[in-house]
């Protein structure tokens, strides 16, 4: 594992600031808890409390379901390397369906940090190349704040799906457990979504 310049909390703060009004699916564990620490509870954040491996599939479903909805921008997934590797097949599904609103950030620290730092297999995998091989429209691998900023500008203005792998350190913010009722999280998110662009009645 190499030492990365970027800390997860800084990356999350940057993504939230860059896309403050985009529907965002947050992966479980440190991603969700640290986003809450740096940005607070936000209506556009759908927080996964436990469904490891399912962050990108949920975001894919959102991007498909919102395909024709005005008033909603990019659909962003923020996922960890360990969780992505649990359901890597979704890269093929995304590449096949090509939801143009989907932007996926993979925050890659090379370990399962929330459970003590056990290593993942990510160090030996070129995730950006895998996405491209699965017919995604673009993918980048970034290691610095400048590269992250440039990749984000590109991702938010180009046709998706696109994937940005962000190499991050294993630094963690002290952040407590988040124990909200998931039914409330879902309804809060739906309510936010309805407020952005009321859906037509079928």
């Amino acid at each position: 594992m190499t030492v990365a310049d970027l800390d997860r909390a800084d990356v999350l703060r940057f993504i939230d600031a860059a896309a403050p009004d985009s529907p965002m699916v947050l992966g479980l564990g440190g991603i969700a808890r640290e986003m809450l620490a740096v940005a607070g509870r936000k209506g556009n954040h759908f927080i996964s409390l436990d469904a490891m491996g399912q962050t990108v599939p949920v975001a894919l479903g959102l991007a498909l379901g919102l395909e024709h909805r005005a008033g909603v921008g990019k659909v962003i997934a923020i996922e960890g390397d360990g969780s992505l590797l649990m359901g890597l097949s979704v890269l093929s599904t995304v590449g096949h369906l090509k939801p143009d609103r989907l932007v996926v950030y993979v925050l890659d620290n090379g370990v399962y940090l929330a459970t003590g730092g056990q290593p993942t297999a990510s160090a030996d995998i070129d995730l950006a190349a895998v996405a491209i091989a699965c017919s995604w429209r673009g993918a980048r691998d970034v290691r610095t704040a400048d590269e992250l900023a440039a990749a984000t500008d590109w991702a938010l203005t180009t046709e998706g799906p696109v994937l940005i792998r962000v190499r991050i350190s294993t630094a963690q913010l002290p952040a407590g457990y988040f124990l909200e009722d998931p039914a409330i999280l879902a309804e809060d998110f739906r309510r936010w979504l309805r407020a952005q662009s009321p859906q037509k009645e079928p």
Binding site: A51, Q54, A59, G61, L62, F189, R190, L193
Partner: protein, 189 residues
Amino acid sequence: MTGAGAVAEDAGETDQQVLQQRSAAIIAGIEAIDPDHVLHLASSTLKIVLSHFIDGPGAKPGRRVFAMPREEEGVAIAAGLELAGARPVLIFQDNGIGNLLTALLTLGQAYHLPLLAVVSRRGGLGEYNSMIHTISERAEALLDAAGVRWFQLDARTPVSRWTAEIERAWAFARATHRPVFVLVNLMGS
């Protein structure tokens, strides 16, 4: 199949006739729901149903039909679709229930998402696979242990009722804010 087209199942039909009647009833039930997304996973017993949606009359404008490589991924995609206000239906067979339980319980159940799955039965009378029963005949027990609500359509329910029951399961999932599975036996039992 409903009304005059329905045929009593004790009238000596062949297995193929039963398969066609029940498949038609399932198709009609799903079409009555009018899903905008149909997520499926390969199943030989569901071939007639899947063909209707993949490249038959059910493959119509405004509807996206696609394969999920694994059942749990399909559950999560459907969860996102539900959050977006879409109308997804999942179609797969019961030997995949073991694959999806964690996603179903930590997403669908926990977040109160009304996902509808039409699940074909395997491993019973008429089965041609020598080991699929080891998971399939435990499907009900697995779902019960997981607290997942399910309904069963087999020879005990006249095929003339299948279409309406599938449509009612969709409404029931929405009324009770949770995933609902409809287990359908296409193999004649």
